[in-house]
Symmetry: C2
Protein backbone atom coordinates (compact mmCIF):
# COMPACT_ATOMS: atom_id res chain seq x y z
CA UNK A 1 0.00 0.00 0.00
CA UNK A 2 2.88 2.36 0.82
CA UNK A 3 6.22 1.12 -0.43
CA UNK A 4 9.65 1.67 1.08
CA UNK A 5 10.31 4.50 -1.37
CA UNK A 6 7.87 6.54 0.70
CA UNK A 7 9.49 5.80 4.05
CA UNK A 8 10.80 8.81 5.94
CA UNK A 9 12.76 8.64 9.18
CA UNK A 10 11.84 11.27 11.70
CA UNK A 11 14.93 12.47 13.49
CA UNK A 12 13.21 12.06 16.87
CA UNK A 13 13.54 8.28 16.37
CA UNK A 14 17.33 8.65 16.59
CA UNK A 15 17.26 11.51 19.05
CA UNK A 16 20.98 11.55 19.81
CA UNK A 17 22.13 12.03 16.21
CA UNK A 18 22.89 15.39 14.64
CA UNK A 19 21.25 16.40 11.38
CA UNK A 20 24.33 15.27 9.42
CA UNK A 21 24.56 11.96 11.29
CA UNK A 22 20.84 11.27 10.81
CA UNK A 23 21.18 12.13 7.11
CA UNK A 24 24.08 9.69 6.76
CA UNK A 25 22.04 7.02 8.52
CA UNK A 26 19.20 7.50 6.04
CA UNK A 27 21.59 7.20 3.10
CA UNK A 28 23.12 4.01 4.52
CA UNK A 29 19.66 2.47 4.82
CA UNK A 30 18.19 3.68 1.53
CA UNK A 31 15.70 5.95 3.27
CA UNK A 32 14.90 8.82 0.90
CA UNK A 33 13.37 11.34 3.28
CA UNK A 34 13.77 12.68 6.77
CA UNK A 35 11.64 14.56 9.27
CA UNK A 36 13.57 17.21 11.17
CA UNK A 37 13.30 19.00 14.51
CA UNK A 38 14.07 22.67 14.82
CA UNK A 39 16.38 22.31 17.82
CA UNK A 40 18.60 19.89 15.92
CA UNK A 41 18.59 22.14 12.86
CA UNK A 42 19.49 25.12 15.05
CA UNK A 43 22.30 23.18 16.68
CA UNK A 44 23.78 22.29 13.29
CA UNK A 45 23.00 25.65 11.69
CA UNK A 46 20.25 26.13 9.11
CA UNK A 47 22.53 26.63 6.09
CA UNK A 48 24.74 23.74 7.15
CA UNK A 49 21.68 21.51 7.57
CA UNK A 50 20.38 22.42 4.12
CA UNK A 51 23.81 21.65 2.66
CA UNK A 52 24.07 18.30 4.46
CA UNK A 53 20.61 17.25 3.27
CA UNK A 54 21.31 18.32 -0.33
CA UNK A 55 24.57 16.48 -0.47
CA UNK A 56 22.83 13.39 0.92
CA UNK A 57 20.04 13.79 -1.65
CA UNK A 58 17.44 13.66 1.11
CA UNK A 59 13.94 15.08 0.92
CA UNK A 60 12.56 16.77 4.07
CA UNK A 61 9.11 15.39 4.75
CA UNK A 62 8.40 17.61 7.75
CA UNK A 63 9.80 20.12 10.17
CA UNK A 64 8.75 19.87 13.82
CA UNK A 65 7.45 22.23 14.99
CA UNK A 66 5.54 25.41 15.42
CA UNK A 67 2.35 26.19 17.29
CA UNK A 68 1.83 26.69 21.03
CA UNK A 69 -0.74 29.40 20.47
CA UNK A 70 -2.31 29.50 23.94
CA UNK A 71 -0.84 32.25 26.08
CA UNK A 72 -2.28 34.35 28.89
CA UNK A 73 0.40 36.98 28.45
CA UNK A 74 0.28 39.03 25.21
CA UNK A 75 4.07 39.31 25.19
CA UNK A 76 4.39 35.53 25.30
CA UNK A 77 1.84 35.32 22.49
CA UNK A 78 3.81 37.78 20.39
CA UNK A 79 7.03 35.88 21.03
CA UNK A 80 5.35 32.63 19.98
CA UNK A 81 4.05 34.28 16.79
CA UNK A 82 7.54 35.52 15.94
CA UNK A 83 8.96 32.09 16.60
CA UNK A 84 6.31 30.56 14.35
CA UNK A 85 7.24 32.94 11.54
CA UNK A 86 10.87 31.89 11.98
CA UNK A 87 9.79 28.24 11.82
CA UNK A 88 8.00 28.92 8.52
CA UNK A 89 11.16 30.47 7.07
CA UNK A 90 13.19 27.46 8.21
CA UNK A 91 10.66 25.05 6.68
CA UNK A 92 10.90 26.97 3.40
CA UNK A 93 14.71 26.86 3.41
CA UNK A 94 14.65 23.15 4.09
CA UNK A 95 12.02 22.51 1.43
CA UNK A 96 9.92 20.67 4.02
CA UNK A 97 6.58 19.25 2.89
CA UNK A 98 4.98 20.62 6.04
CA UNK A 99 5.61 22.56 9.21
CA UNK A 100 3.98 20.57 12.01
CA UNK A 101 1.89 22.61 14.45
CA UNK A 102 1.32 21.46 18.03
CA UNK A 103 -1.29 23.87 19.20
CA UNK A 104 -0.78 24.25 22.95
CA UNK A 105 -3.03 23.22 25.82
CA UNK A 106 -5.14 25.24 28.22
CA UNK A 107 -4.19 28.88 28.60
CA UNK A 108 -2.06 29.11 31.77
CA UNK A 109 -4.31 29.73 34.76
CA UNK A 110 -7.47 28.90 32.83
CA UNK A 111 -9.77 25.89 32.48
CA UNK A 112 -11.55 27.37 29.48
CA UNK A 113 -11.06 24.92 26.61
CA UNK A 114 -13.21 26.88 24.14
CA UNK A 115 -10.98 29.91 24.83
CA UNK A 116 -7.86 27.84 24.13
CA UNK A 117 -9.41 26.61 20.91
CA UNK A 118 -10.32 30.11 19.76
CA UNK A 119 -6.75 31.25 20.43
CA UNK A 120 -5.46 28.33 18.38
CA UNK A 121 -7.71 29.20 15.44
CA UNK A 122 -6.71 32.87 15.68
CA UNK A 123 -3.04 31.95 15.91
CA UNK A 124 -3.21 29.82 12.79
CA UNK A 125 -5.13 32.53 10.93
CA UNK A 126 -2.38 34.98 11.77
CA UNK A 127 0.26 32.63 10.30
CA UNK A 128 -1.49 31.82 7.04
CA UNK A 129 -0.26 34.81 4.99
CA UNK A 130 3.33 34.14 6.06
CA UNK A 131 2.97 30.47 5.17
CA UNK A 132 1.50 31.33 1.76
CA UNK A 133 4.24 33.86 1.02
CA UNK A 134 6.84 31.24 1.89
CA UNK A 135 5.10 28.41 0.05
CA UNK A 136 4.99 26.34 3.26
CA UNK A 137 2.07 24.17 4.28
CA UNK A 138 1.15 24.13 7.94
CA UNK A 139 0.07 20.79 9.35
CA UNK A 140 -2.27 20.87 12.34
CA UNK A 141 -1.54 17.84 14.47
CA UNK A 142 -4.12 16.34 16.80
CA UNK A 143 -2.37 15.03 19.89
CA UNK A 144 -3.78 12.23 22.02
CA UNK A 145 -6.37 13.54 24.51
CA UNK A 146 -4.03 12.74 27.38
CA UNK A 147 -2.03 15.79 26.25
CA UNK A 148 -5.04 18.11 26.07
CA UNK A 149 -4.43 20.06 29.27
CA UNK A 150 -0.76 20.82 28.91
CA UNK A 151 0.25 20.43 25.30
CA UNK A 152 -2.44 20.36 22.64
CA UNK A 153 -6.14 21.18 22.88
CA UNK A 154 -6.65 19.73 19.41
CA UNK A 155 -7.39 16.13 20.33
CA UNK A 156 -8.94 14.45 17.31
CA UNK A 157 -8.24 14.38 13.59
CA UNK A 158 -11.76 15.65 12.90
CA UNK A 159 -11.15 18.63 15.13
CA UNK A 160 -7.83 19.38 13.40
CA UNK A 161 -9.58 19.09 10.05
CA UNK A 162 -12.42 21.43 11.02
CA UNK A 163 -9.74 23.97 11.91
CA UNK A 164 -7.79 23.42 8.69
CA UNK A 165 -10.90 23.76 6.54
CA UNK A 166 -11.22 27.38 7.68
CA UNK A 167 -8.11 28.18 5.63
CA UNK A 168 -6.89 27.66 2.05
CA UNK A 169 -5.72 24.12 1.29
CA UNK A 170 -2.36 25.33 -0.01
CA UNK A 171 -1.60 26.84 3.40
CA UNK A 172 -3.14 24.58 6.04
CA UNK A 173 -3.62 20.85 6.29
CA UNK A 174 -3.61 18.15 8.92
CA UNK A 175 -1.16 15.60 10.25
CA UNK A 176 -2.31 12.01 10.72
CA UNK A 177 -0.18 10.56 13.52
CA UNK A 178 -1.20 6.99 14.29
CA UNK A 179 -0.13 7.20 17.94
CA UNK A 180 -2.47 10.07 18.65
CA UNK A 181 -5.56 9.12 16.68
CA UNK A 182 -5.69 5.32 16.34
CA UNK A 183 -8.37 4.90 19.05
CA UNK A 184 -10.93 7.21 17.41
CA UNK A 185 -14.09 5.49 16.15
CA UNK A 186 -14.51 8.30 13.62
CA UNK A 187 -10.94 8.01 12.31
CA UNK A 188 -11.70 6.32 8.99
CA UNK A 189 -14.48 8.79 8.22
CA UNK A 190 -12.31 11.76 9.21
CA UNK A 191 -9.39 10.55 7.07
CA UNK A 192 -11.74 10.26 4.09
CA UNK A 193 -13.03 13.76 4.81
CA UNK A 194 -9.41 15.00 4.95
CA UNK A 195 -8.83 14.34 1.23
CA UNK A 196 -6.54 17.06 -0.12
CA UNK A 197 -5.65 18.20 3.40
CA UNK A 198 -3.31 15.50 4.69
CA UNK A 199 0.16 17.05 4.70
CA UNK A 200 1.97 14.54 6.88
CA UNK A 201 1.53 10.92 7.90
CA UNK A 202 3.46 9.88 11.01
CA UNK A 203 3.78 6.41 12.44
CA UNK A 204 4.57 4.77 15.72
CA UNK A 205 2.83 2.18 17.85
CA UNK A 206 0.81 2.43 21.09
CA UNK A 207 2.49 0.28 23.71
CA UNK A 208 1.57 -0.43 27.32
CA UNK A 209 2.21 0.25 30.09
CA UNK A 210 2.59 3.98 29.61
CA UNK A 211 5.93 5.13 31.05
CA UNK A 212 6.31 7.73 33.78
CA UNK A 213 6.83 10.36 31.09
CA UNK A 214 3.94 9.63 28.75
CA UNK A 215 5.68 11.50 25.96
CA UNK A 216 8.16 8.65 25.72
CA UNK A 217 5.88 5.62 25.53
CA UNK A 218 5.89 4.98 21.81
CA UNK A 219 6.88 1.77 20.13
CA UNK A 220 8.28 0.38 16.91
CA UNK A 221 5.58 -0.50 14.39
CA UNK A 222 4.17 -3.89 15.29
CA UNK A 223 5.08 -3.80 18.99
CA UNK A 224 1.71 -2.46 20.11
CA UNK A 225 -2.01 -2.13 19.48
CA UNK A 226 -2.28 -0.18 16.25
CA UNK A 227 -3.64 -1.65 13.01
CA UNK A 228 -1.27 0.12 10.60
CA UNK A 229 -2.62 -1.63 7.53
CA UNK A 230 -6.13 -0.32 8.14
CA UNK A 231 -5.09 3.28 8.85
CA UNK A 232 -2.62 3.32 5.97
CA UNK A 233 -5.27 2.01 3.58
CA UNK A 234 -7.56 4.85 4.66
CA UNK A 235 -4.82 7.46 4.23
CA UNK A 236 -3.95 6.00 0.83
CA UNK A 237 -7.61 5.93 -0.25
CA UNK A 238 -7.87 9.61 0.72
CA UNK A 239 -5.29 10.37 -1.97
CA UNK A 240 -2.29 11.04 0.24
CA UNK A 241 0.85 10.43 -1.82
CA UNK A 242 3.54 11.87 0.44
CA UNK A 243 6.01 10.23 2.75
CA UNK A 244 5.16 8.11 5.77
CA UNK A 245 7.39 9.15 8.63
CA UNK A 246 8.38 6.86 11.47
CA UNK A 247 8.68 8.92 14.64
CA UNK A 248 9.32 7.07 17.90
CA UNK A 249 9.85 8.78 21.23
CA UNK A 250 11.22 6.06 23.46
CA UNK A 251 14.42 6.07 25.49
CA UNK A 252 15.05 2.38 24.79
CA UNK A 253 14.87 3.04 21.06
CA UNK A 254 17.14 6.06 21.50
CA UNK A 255 19.68 3.97 23.40
CA UNK A 256 19.81 1.31 20.67
CA UNK A 257 22.50 1.55 17.97
CA UNK A 258 21.04 3.86 15.28
CA UNK A 259 21.80 1.42 12.45
CA UNK A 260 19.84 -1.25 14.28
CA UNK A 261 16.95 1.17 14.76
CA UNK A 262 16.98 2.15 11.10
CA UNK A 263 16.98 -1.51 10.08
CA UNK A 264 14.04 -2.27 12.39
CA UNK A 265 12.17 0.76 11.04
CA UNK A 266 12.64 -0.45 7.46
CA UNK A 267 11.74 -4.05 8.17
CA UNK A 268 8.60 -3.25 10.14
CA UNK A 269 7.50 -0.64 7.62
CA UNK A 270 7.90 -3.08 4.73
CA UNK A 271 6.02 -5.87 6.46
CA UNK A 272 3.18 -3.77 7.90
CA UNK A 273 2.64 -1.10 5.24
CA UNK A 274 4.09 -2.56 2.08
Amino acid sequence: MIGLSRLSLNQATVQYLSVAEAADLCVRHDIEAIGLWRAHVAAAGLAESVAALRSAGLHVSSLCRGGFFTHADPAAGAAAAADNRAAIREAAELGADALILVSGGLVPGSRDLPLARRMIADGIAELVPTAQDAGVRLGIEALHPMFCADRCAVSRLGQALDLALQFPADAVGVVVDTYHVWWDADLAADIARARGRIVSYQLCDWILPLPADVLLGRGHLGDGSIDFAAITAAVDAAGYDGYAEVEIFNTQVWDAPPDETAETVRTRFASLLG
Copy 2:
Protein backbone atom coordinates in the same frame (compact mmCIF):
# COMPACT_ATOMS: atom_id res chain seq x y z
CA MET B 1 -26.64 24.29 39.55
CA ILE B 2 -26.46 20.96 41.43
CA GLY B 3 -26.94 21.32 45.15
CA LEU B 4 -25.41 19.24 47.92
CA SER B 5 -28.60 17.20 48.20
CA ARG B 6 -27.55 15.59 44.92
CA LEU B 7 -24.01 14.73 46.02
CA SER B 8 -23.15 11.05 46.03
CA LEU B 9 -19.89 9.60 47.29
CA ASN B 10 -18.49 6.81 45.21
CA GLN B 11 -16.94 4.20 47.43
CA ALA B 12 -13.80 4.17 45.28
CA THR B 13 -12.96 7.58 46.77
CA VAL B 14 -12.54 5.92 50.17
CA GLN B 15 -11.21 2.66 48.83
CA TYR B 16 -10.19 1.16 52.16
CA LEU B 17 -13.63 1.40 53.80
CA SER B 18 -16.16 -1.41 53.84
CA VAL B 19 -19.71 -0.81 52.62
CA ALA B 20 -20.91 -0.25 56.21
CA GLU B 21 -18.02 2.09 57.02
CA ALA B 22 -18.56 4.08 53.83
CA ALA B 23 -22.29 4.27 54.60
CA ASP B 24 -21.54 5.60 58.10
CA LEU B 25 -19.17 8.15 56.60
CA CYS B 26 -21.90 9.40 54.26
CA VAL B 27 -24.35 9.71 57.15
CA ARG B 28 -21.82 11.65 59.24
CA HIS B 29 -21.32 14.09 56.37
CA ASP B 30 -24.95 14.46 55.26
CA ILE B 31 -24.28 12.75 51.96
CA GLU B 32 -27.52 11.14 50.82
CA ALA B 33 -26.29 8.69 48.21
CA ILE B 34 -23.42 6.34 47.54
CA GLY B 35 -21.90 4.64 44.51
CA LEU B 36 -20.83 1.08 45.21
CA TRP B 37 -18.33 -1.41 43.82
CA ARG B 38 -19.20 -5.05 43.43
CA ALA B 39 -16.07 -6.37 45.12
CA HIS B 40 -16.84 -4.37 48.28
CA VAL B 41 -20.47 -5.51 48.18
CA ALA B 42 -19.35 -9.12 47.77
CA ALA B 43 -16.92 -8.78 50.67
CA ALA B 44 -19.68 -7.48 52.93
CA GLY B 45 -22.37 -9.78 51.54
CA LEU B 46 -25.19 -8.54 49.30
CA ALA B 47 -28.00 -8.90 51.89
CA GLU B 48 -25.84 -7.34 54.58
CA SER B 49 -24.96 -4.44 52.26
CA VAL B 50 -28.62 -3.82 51.44
CA ALA B 51 -29.44 -3.85 55.16
CA ALA B 52 -26.60 -1.47 56.02
CA LEU B 53 -27.66 0.99 53.31
CA ARG B 54 -31.33 0.83 54.31
CA SER B 55 -30.59 1.44 57.95
CA ALA B 56 -28.37 4.37 56.93
CA GLY B 57 -31.16 5.70 54.68
CA LEU B 58 -28.74 5.89 51.76
CA HIS B 59 -29.69 5.83 48.11
CA VAL B 60 -27.42 3.86 45.74
CA SER B 61 -26.62 6.05 42.77
CA SER B 62 -24.62 3.43 40.89
CA LEU B 63 -23.07 0.02 41.04
CA CYS B 64 -19.66 -0.46 39.42
CA ARG B 65 -19.46 -2.47 37.30
CA GLY B 66 -20.29 -4.84 34.49
CA GLY B 67 -19.05 -4.98 30.94
CA PHE B 68 -15.76 -6.38 29.59
CA PHE B 69 -17.42 -7.79 26.51
CA THR B 70 -14.34 -8.36 24.35
CA HIS B 71 -13.13 -11.95 24.51
CA ALA B 72 -11.33 -14.17 22.02
CA ASP B 73 -12.40 -17.30 23.86
CA PRO B 74 -16.15 -18.13 23.78
CA ALA B 75 -15.92 -19.66 27.26
CA ALA B 76 -14.53 -16.39 28.63
CA GLY B 77 -17.31 -14.53 26.84
CA ALA B 78 -19.95 -16.80 28.37
CA ALA B 79 -18.42 -16.36 31.82
CA ALA B 80 -18.46 -12.58 31.38
CA ALA B 81 -22.11 -12.68 30.31
CA ALA B 82 -23.02 -14.74 33.38
CA ASP B 83 -21.13 -12.31 35.58
CA ASN B 84 -22.96 -9.41 33.95
CA ARG B 85 -26.31 -11.03 34.67
CA ALA B 86 -25.23 -11.42 38.30
CA ALA B 87 -24.25 -7.74 38.37
CA ILE B 88 -27.72 -6.80 37.13
CA ARG B 89 -29.34 -8.82 39.92
CA GLU B 90 -27.09 -7.13 42.46
CA ALA B 91 -27.93 -3.69 41.08
CA ALA B 92 -31.64 -4.53 41.37
CA GLU B 93 -31.26 -5.70 44.97
CA LEU B 94 -29.37 -2.55 45.85
CA GLY B 95 -31.88 -0.33 44.06
CA ALA B 96 -29.00 1.27 42.14
CA ASP B 97 -29.89 3.98 39.64
CA ALA B 98 -27.52 2.38 37.14
CA LEU B 99 -25.16 -0.50 36.58
CA ILE B 100 -22.00 1.00 35.09
CA LEU B 101 -20.57 -0.83 32.08
CA VAL B 102 -16.88 -0.65 31.19
CA SER B 103 -16.80 -2.28 27.82
CA GLY B 104 -13.39 -3.88 27.46
CA GLY B 105 -10.53 -3.03 25.12
CA LEU B 106 -9.13 -4.83 22.10
CA VAL B 107 -9.91 -8.51 21.86
CA PRO B 108 -6.84 -10.36 23.19
CA GLY B 109 -4.42 -11.04 20.34
CA SER B 110 -6.23 -8.67 17.98
CA ARG B 111 -5.73 -5.11 16.75
CA ASP B 112 -9.22 -4.96 15.23
CA LEU B 113 -11.04 -2.10 16.93
CA PRO B 114 -14.20 -2.43 14.83
CA LEU B 115 -14.38 -6.09 15.91
CA ALA B 116 -14.07 -5.08 19.58
CA ARG B 117 -16.82 -2.53 19.10
CA ARG B 118 -19.16 -5.02 17.44
CA MET B 119 -18.60 -7.43 20.34
CA ILE B 120 -19.43 -4.64 22.78
CA ALA B 121 -22.68 -3.83 20.97
CA ASP B 122 -23.60 -7.51 20.81
CA GLY B 123 -22.75 -7.99 24.50
CA ILE B 124 -24.97 -5.10 25.52
CA ALA B 125 -27.80 -6.35 23.30
CA GLU B 126 -27.61 -9.72 25.02
CA LEU B 127 -27.97 -8.06 28.45
CA VAL B 128 -30.90 -5.82 27.66
CA PRO B 129 -33.72 -8.32 28.34
CA THR B 130 -32.18 -9.24 31.70
CA ALA B 131 -31.84 -5.56 32.59
CA GLN B 132 -35.42 -4.85 31.60
CA ASP B 133 -36.73 -7.82 33.59
CA ALA B 134 -34.81 -6.59 36.61
CA GLY B 135 -35.74 -2.93 36.15
CA VAL B 136 -32.05 -1.97 36.03
CA ARG B 137 -30.61 0.66 33.71
CA LEU B 138 -27.25 -0.06 32.17
CA GLY B 139 -24.90 2.90 31.87
CA ILE B 140 -22.32 2.74 29.08
CA GLU B 141 -19.24 4.60 30.23
CA ALA B 142 -16.78 6.12 27.80
CA LEU B 143 -13.29 5.82 29.23
CA HIS B 144 -10.46 8.18 28.32
CA PRO B 145 -8.79 7.16 25.04
CA MET B 146 -5.62 6.26 26.93
CA PHE B 147 -7.55 3.18 28.13
CA CYS B 148 -8.74 2.17 24.66
CA ALA B 149 -6.34 -0.72 24.06
CA ASP B 150 -6.63 -2.52 27.36
CA ARG B 151 -9.81 -1.47 29.11
CA CYS B 152 -12.50 0.27 27.10
CA ALA B 153 -12.85 0.70 23.35
CA VAL B 154 -15.68 3.18 23.96
CA SER B 155 -13.67 6.38 24.13
CA ARG B 156 -16.07 9.29 23.73
CA LEU B 157 -19.48 10.20 25.10
CA GLY B 158 -20.87 10.43 21.58
CA GLN B 159 -19.71 6.90 20.87
CA ALA B 160 -21.31 5.62 24.08
CA LEU B 161 -24.51 7.43 23.15
CA ASP B 162 -24.61 6.00 19.63
CA LEU B 163 -24.42 2.57 21.26
CA ALA B 164 -27.08 3.35 23.85
CA LEU B 165 -29.48 4.70 21.24
CA GLN B 166 -29.65 1.24 19.68
CA PHE B 167 -31.57 0.08 22.75
CA PRO B 168 -34.65 1.17 24.73
CA ALA B 169 -34.09 4.16 27.00
CA ASP B 170 -35.41 2.33 30.05
CA ALA B 171 -32.66 -0.25 29.68
CA VAL B 172 -29.55 1.52 28.38
CA GLY B 173 -28.10 4.96 28.95
CA VAL B 174 -24.72 6.62 29.24
CA VAL B 175 -22.41 7.71 32.03
CA VAL B 176 -20.87 11.17 31.89
CA ASP B 177 -17.57 10.95 33.77
CA THR B 178 -15.74 14.25 33.70
CA TYR B 179 -12.30 12.66 33.96
CA HIS B 180 -12.79 10.65 30.79
CA VAL B 181 -14.59 13.12 28.54
CA TRP B 182 -13.64 16.66 29.58
CA TRP B 183 -11.19 17.15 26.68
CA ASP B 184 -13.73 16.41 23.93
CA ALA B 185 -14.60 19.37 21.70
CA ASP B 186 -17.97 17.72 20.98
CA LEU B 187 -18.78 17.17 24.65
CA ALA B 188 -21.39 19.90 25.04
CA ALA B 189 -23.19 18.83 21.88
CA ASP B 190 -23.07 15.17 22.87
CA ILE B 191 -24.40 15.90 26.35
CA ALA B 192 -27.31 17.80 24.81
CA ARG B 193 -27.94 14.88 22.46
CA ALA B 194 -27.91 12.52 25.47
CA ARG B 195 -31.12 14.01 26.92
CA GLY B 196 -33.08 11.19 28.54
CA ARG B 197 -30.11 8.84 28.38
CA ILE B 198 -27.78 10.13 31.11
CA VAL B 199 -28.00 7.57 33.91
CA SER B 200 -24.94 8.58 35.92
CA TYR B 201 -22.81 11.68 36.35
CA GLN B 202 -19.38 11.07 37.86
CA LEU B 203 -16.86 13.66 38.89
CA CYS B 204 -13.16 13.91 39.48
CA ASP B 205 -10.44 16.19 38.19
CA TRP B 206 -7.67 15.71 35.62
CA ILE B 207 -4.33 16.31 37.32
CA LEU B 208 -0.80 16.20 35.98
CA PRO B 209 1.63 14.58 35.87
CA LEU B 210 -0.03 11.24 35.23
CA PRO B 211 1.22 8.67 37.76
CA ALA B 212 2.95 5.41 36.84
CA ASP B 213 -0.41 3.66 37.08
CA VAL B 214 -2.62 5.98 35.02
CA LEU B 215 -5.72 4.52 36.65
CA LEU B 216 -4.78 6.32 39.84
CA GLY B 217 -4.13 9.85 38.60
CA ARG B 218 -7.41 11.49 39.52
CA GLY B 219 -7.82 14.53 41.69
CA HIS B 220 -10.25 16.26 44.01
CA LEU B 221 -12.54 18.67 42.20
CA GLY B 222 -10.68 21.92 41.70
CA ASP B 223 -7.17 20.46 41.82
CA GLY B 224 -6.88 20.07 38.07
CA SER B 225 -7.88 21.19 34.60
CA ILE B 226 -11.60 20.48 34.39
CA ASP B 227 -14.25 23.18 34.15
CA PHE B 228 -16.90 21.52 36.33
CA ALA B 229 -19.31 24.43 36.14
CA ALA B 230 -19.48 24.25 32.35
CA ILE B 231 -19.93 20.47 32.16
CA THR B 232 -22.45 20.44 35.02
CA ALA B 233 -24.46 23.20 33.35
CA ALA B 234 -24.61 21.12 30.18
CA VAL B 235 -25.65 17.96 32.08
CA ASP B 236 -28.27 19.98 33.95
CA ALA B 237 -29.58 21.57 30.76
CA ALA B 238 -29.91 18.07 29.26
CA GLY B 239 -32.47 17.31 31.95
CA TYR B 240 -30.39 15.06 34.18
CA ASP B 241 -31.82 15.18 37.68
CA GLY B 242 -29.97 12.34 39.38
CA TYR B 243 -27.03 12.29 41.73
CA ALA B 244 -23.56 13.60 40.97
CA GLU B 245 -21.04 11.10 42.21
CA VAL B 246 -17.52 12.00 43.27
CA GLU B 247 -15.23 9.13 42.35
CA ILE B 248 -11.49 9.63 42.87
CA PHE B 249 -8.89 6.95 42.25
CA ASN B 250 -5.77 8.27 43.91
CA THR B 251 -3.59 6.60 46.51
CA GLN B 252 -2.95 9.90 48.29
CA VAL B 253 -6.69 10.45 48.64
CA TRP B 254 -7.10 6.87 49.81
CA ASP B 255 -4.40 7.34 52.45
CA ALA B 256 -6.05 10.48 53.86
CA PRO B 257 -8.44 10.16 56.81
CA PRO B 258 -11.87 9.36 55.29
CA ASP B 259 -13.62 12.11 57.23
CA GLU B 260 -11.17 14.62 55.82
CA THR B 261 -11.78 13.26 52.32
CA ALA B 262 -15.56 13.47 52.75
CA GLU B 263 -15.28 17.03 54.01
CA THR B 264 -13.09 18.02 51.03
CA VAL B 265 -15.53 16.32 48.66
CA ARG B 266 -18.47 18.29 50.13
CA THR B 267 -16.65 21.62 50.18
CA ARG B 268 -15.34 21.38 46.63
CA PHE B 269 -18.68 20.13 45.34
CA ALA B 270 -20.53 23.02 46.96
CA SER B 271 -18.14 25.65 45.67
CA LEU B 272 -17.74 24.29 42.12
CA LEU B 273 -21.17 22.86 41.35
CA GLY B 274 -23.54 24.59 43.74
